[in-house]
Symmetry: C2
Subunit: 199 residues, 2 copies
């Protein structure tokens, strides 16, 4: 079997470690970078290093940020009485892009998963409860994923937060907007029926 | 509209410049690297920089390599009387992975395209013709792409190489192995009929 030059092999392997990137895609990306202007490869190398060096987690909401507290937590025009709890920074980003949510976030960096040894102390749940105990939060919207881990996390949070006298809500699950019923899976349809609202 | 921290934005932009990577995928890759162990980001950054710094083109065949001449050109067990001409390093890699070709390569780094101002002098054609004039090549297999640019390049090469008294062949085009006729496009089917061989 043909082996490429070791630096190319290492580049292919580094790309393959990224989620959703298989061997063929990794090879395509590597060969592109080697044929493209050197500036493009330098920019990618520097961007990866710089992002990893400069980005930390916000001391308040645990989202990714380059300033502490993050731009969202520091924004006085936002509603500081509402928190949206997400598993990952990607979830907060998705909701921000929606453009309708004006409250703050709390990023757990995972979900409860006893099978994988992830308990409450492995997540940023203690910090969430401390934020709530400070007294200015009126509603916590739990937007963990619609997986068994996400649901278990939502149940755990609803008990802990409810015990502190703060309202806990869960984002709605159902048929996506614009999606035909025939494209929705059984679990989604069951959820959509169960969560029906009066017209 | 929400803006992410500048280092994250720059990382997303660097990923987006790669072929086949859209905005959502670029965001997913960036957020993954920021959540994954720091070692993974460092390895990617270093691999990109190292590959770009250490990989050059072979002085003989113009393929990408970290030693000159490249491992293929330097391999005495290969057939040094046969050249396979490809547009890009990816083409040579694809044929190498096939595992049946034992000759050498010549990488043009493009194809003739008068519309985009790519003439023979923009490609590594002069070097190819010099290799042929050295006298040890007996057959040149033209494996440029089955596009109008690749076909024009094949035609040009067949004239130039033929004038030097060396056999020029073109790889076969037709229905892919394992592919049903119903999945092949019209041009491929026409080619497959035209290039039929006696059973």
């Amino acid at each position: 079997m043909f082996n490429q030059a070791p630096p190319v092999e290492r580049l292919v392997e580094a790309f393959r470690r990224l989620p959703g990137i298989g061997k063929r895609t990794a090879e395509r990306l590597a060969l592109h970078l080697l044929s493209a202007p050197a500036e493009e490869a330098r920019a990618l190398s520097a961007a990866v290093r710089e992002a990893r060096d400069r980005i930390t987690t916000c001391g308040v909401c645990c989202n990714l940020t380059d300033v502490d507290p993050c731009a969202i937590c520091a924004d006085e025009r936002r509603d500081h009485s509402t928190l949206c709890v997400v598993e990952r920074p990607a979830g907060a980003l998705a909701i921000e892009k929606g453009g309708t949510y004006r409250g703050l976030y709390h990023v757990l960096h995972g979900a409860l998963s006893p099978m994988e040894g992830v308990g409450p102390s492995e997540l940023r749940i203690d910090r969430l409860l401390r934020r709530i105990e400070e007294g200015s939060i009126r509603e916590v919207i739990v937007a963990t994923n619609a997986t068994s881990e996400g649901e278990a996390t939502a149940l755990y949070l609803s008990r802990e937060i409810g015990a502190r006298g703060v309202a806990v809500t869960r984002i709605a699950h159902g048929v996506p907007m614009g999606g035909g019923l025939e494209f929705a899976d059984d679990a989604t349809l069951a959820h959509a029926l169960q969560g029906r609202t009066r017209l």
